[in-house]
Symmetry: C2
Subunit: 470 residues, 2 copies
């Protein structure tokens, strides 16, 4: 009997979680499997979420972002092939074709295939030259190569910095999502005059009133925010490098560099060509076990996932889901019956610059999402403190609770506040996970001591105030 | 028709929550009620939990601890009588007798009585003179008067401090619970040579292994911890003030001051004399509506409460419960159908001194409590970080998960760690509230970004590791 071969495409969180879990779980039942992992880049298992903090200077060394190096994966028994790009999939014959960095084309058979190709940044036409290359000075922040490039651009101590700038360098971030806000922080902290331009508003997955609160803090820290505006074209210097962005209202914003942070799309080219099921956003649609077709599995940012509150498919590219999905598939590749339980849309970030420290978090449905899903929304913003008012730790915090007016079920929560504000969202996430009502949240026994909370913990106070009005 | 009269005994969290909620809720249905509140001391609605932080110097002014002053209660329509001690209750005739500070005895009728007399500190015999007074230099930390006294004793800038101390002053804290640990912090931060003596161990409501971790930090910060030891007598100076504590093994610990932090007991004297139902600890037993007898209600630290995991009565004196119970009664005094939903035993504190910052939290049942309640316990300690390892915010954190081995239901959690560790307990509290399993906790969608968590949030990693072993 030949050894069962698992081929994994993409050697980051989802793929490598699946690979290692599959090896461990099979070994636990006395079976050895062969795992071949194909990775397009030269990097494996790094923290993409950590890139902005590396660029901003919080992280000293790129190596710290790498959870497992290629060497380590190989030591653990994985046949890792770097610079390998999957090009064609034959689901029926269980064969995958890939191209090596040397230009060779290789066809490999598999018993099980794990697609974990992640997502690719959205690059608008204006960011490219007529030849299709990126305009110099313009790039996204998606992988380690981007991180290195941004570090060279932003960090004035590197040799690539101009010998003498007559004035602060000017940067533009296009996009107001998580990466956009985090890169605006990085640019600003690096001493750049920073403008964030967003098609809608900062963090558009928050309700507009909460988004406005965040924008106020970011602007007061010194970043200019231009909302409801799109970049339509670039101006370039004679050498071809970026000189300015021109917006749809004709305004010209001079810029020495532009971060393209307009989101990501599932990277499913070869897989969708093979006729595998994909959703509205182009993400693969796997069942709860992670399977998309006989012998084919998919995990991570190349997938859509089920939202637990709406029951609908959604695109939620996050390392947390990627790891859980990967582990699920790994167990199932050893005859397990693991199930990925879906997502709530929980997310968190912060904006820190000088004395400004704001944390922002959300879970569940926003008001617009809840209404679109057919719920009748009741919501309320409560302002409170992160600690008893008399403690030096006390920071302002605003909590928006979103509920279904009929069932009183919690639908979502959004938080904006100072230090120790953001992670309180997990209490709401756990409550949502369990399908609790706002009354349940208002009643529960949460931790109180003066350095940590007000006696009515603010998350709970917010739920109670809404419950009292419903 | 005469106005309905509600008499409230005890003008702190529970009593005043009930009083104000009753006024508001009755007003909302067009009825005015008369509320008479009797308070033994001269203080109302202050944060007892804040006292150690005031003594330590985190809070500048005692007034900041007062949520609502006597004047404010009166403005809001309450007939507040300070220095009034309830002495006798006639449940059948609905009459209460109290003594004024002037020594008069007054008998007052009521339609509804709310007993919110709180708890009184346990004072051992050794702390008293043969005449029954407290030995000078020895006292608990229970009310504002105690706070003022400790501030004068510990703060070297006040005039009461000795003109010139030849060496650091020496303090002893007797008791290793929340108040004990917080007062050890206060003494230590005030420059006192501090020894904490406890009958069992520091935070005995934690499992012994977690308690030991906390003890290690407290000791490394410079506080001496003497466990499994009881104070049996005191030595005094010729002027009668305390000179030393002698423990049951005969050791003599010189001391300039001693904090008695040996816990509290329900203060239910007149109420239990009236034949109202009390539990093992002497706390009143109210039903979920807050009622203990016809026309008699009780809330706060003078009560036992139902533990949601065991279904049994327990004594959990905490402001959070007092507020919720008070609000419940207030609503029911206006014909409402509010129910107090019980407790989980959630608690949190910290020990901070110099570079040492440790947070400790717990919820649900400890291993011993779960075993006593008849569960077969599976538990595991997981060590992790509060943020991604490469972030400057990352602190060590240890999470112990306690579960029922048969049902896989979460039973409890204990956390010890650095900054941002403690409040993660709320995720477990919400999960416990909903009766979730360790598998649920391991699967849920919690907030991740590098400054806030590892990609497998440590609380969840801890649940997953235990789930994988069960």
């Amino acid at each position: 009997m030949t050894t069962r071969r698992v081929v994994v495409v993409g050697a980051d969180a989802a793929g490598m979680s699946a690979a290692h879990q599959a090896i461990r779980a099979n070994r636990a039942r006395g079976e050895e499997i062969e795992v071949v992992a194909l990775e397009m880049t030269q990097d494996t298992s790094y923290s993409a979420c950590g890139l902005p903090y590396w660029v901003a200077g919080d992280v000293d060394d790129a190596d710290e972002l790498v959870a497992r190096s290629p060497e380590r994966h190989r030591e653990l028994g994985i046949d890792l092939r770097l610079g390998a790009t999957a090009t064609e999939l034959d689901v029926k014959d269980r064969k995958l074709t890939y191209r090596t960095s040397a230009g060779d084309t290789i066809r490999i058979g598999y018993d099980d295939l794990v697609i974990a190709t992640g997502a690719a940044p959205v690059i608008p036409d204006w960011a490219r030259t007529t030849e299709g290359a990126m305009v110099p000075g313009v790039r996204p922040l998606k992988d380690m190569t981007d991180g290195h490039a941004w570090l060279r651009t932003l960090n004035p101590t590197t040799s690539q910095a101009p010998a003498a700038s007559p004035s602060p360098r000017r940067g533009i971030v296009v996009g107001g999502g998580y990466v956009g806000v985090e890169m605006a922080e990085a640019m600003h902290r690096r001493g750049w005059e920073t403008t964030l331009i967003t098609r809608t508003r900062v963090m558009s997955n928050l309700d507009p009133d909460m988004s406005a609160r965040l924008e106020t803090v970011i602007e007061s820290a010194g970043v200019t925010v231009i909302g409801d505006t799109q970049v339509s074209e670039l101006r370039t210097h004679p050498d071809g490098s970026v000189a300015a962005a021109v917006t749809d209202d004709g305004t010209v914003y001079p810029a020495d560099a532009i971060v393209v942070a307009m989101g990501v799309r599932p990277a499913t080219g070869f897989a969708s060509l093979a006729g595998l099921p994909v959703g509205k956003t182009g993400g693969l649609l796997a069942d709860e076990s992670g399977r998309v077709a006989p012998g084919v599995w998919a995990a991570g940012d190349c997938c859509e996932v089920k939202h637990r509150v709406t029951g609908k498919w959604t695109f939620a590219p996050l390392g947390t889901h990627a790891n859980k999905q990967g582990k699920t598939i790994g167990e199932n590749l050893a005859g397990g019956e693991a199930r990925f339980q879906g997502v709530l849309g929980t997310a968190i970030t912060r904006f820190v610059a000088g004395d400004h420290h704001v944390e922002v978090a959300r879970t569940g449905l926003s008001t617009a999402e809840a209404e679109e899903a057919g719920f009748t929304v009741a919501s309320l913003v409560t302002e409170g403190r992160t600690a008893s008012g008399y403690m030096p730790e006390a920071s302002p915090i605003a909590v928006k609770v979103i509920a279904d007016a009929y069932s009183r079920r919690l639908m979502g929560m959004q938080i904006i506040g100072g230090r120790a504000a953001g992670k309180r969202i997990d209490t709401a996430a756990a409550s949502l996970w369990a399908g609790l009502s706002v009354d349940d949240l208002a009643s529960m026994d949460l931790a109180y001591a003066p350095p940590f909370a007000t006696v009515w913990e603010v998350v709970q106070l917010a739920a109670r105030r809404l419950a009292d009005r419903m």
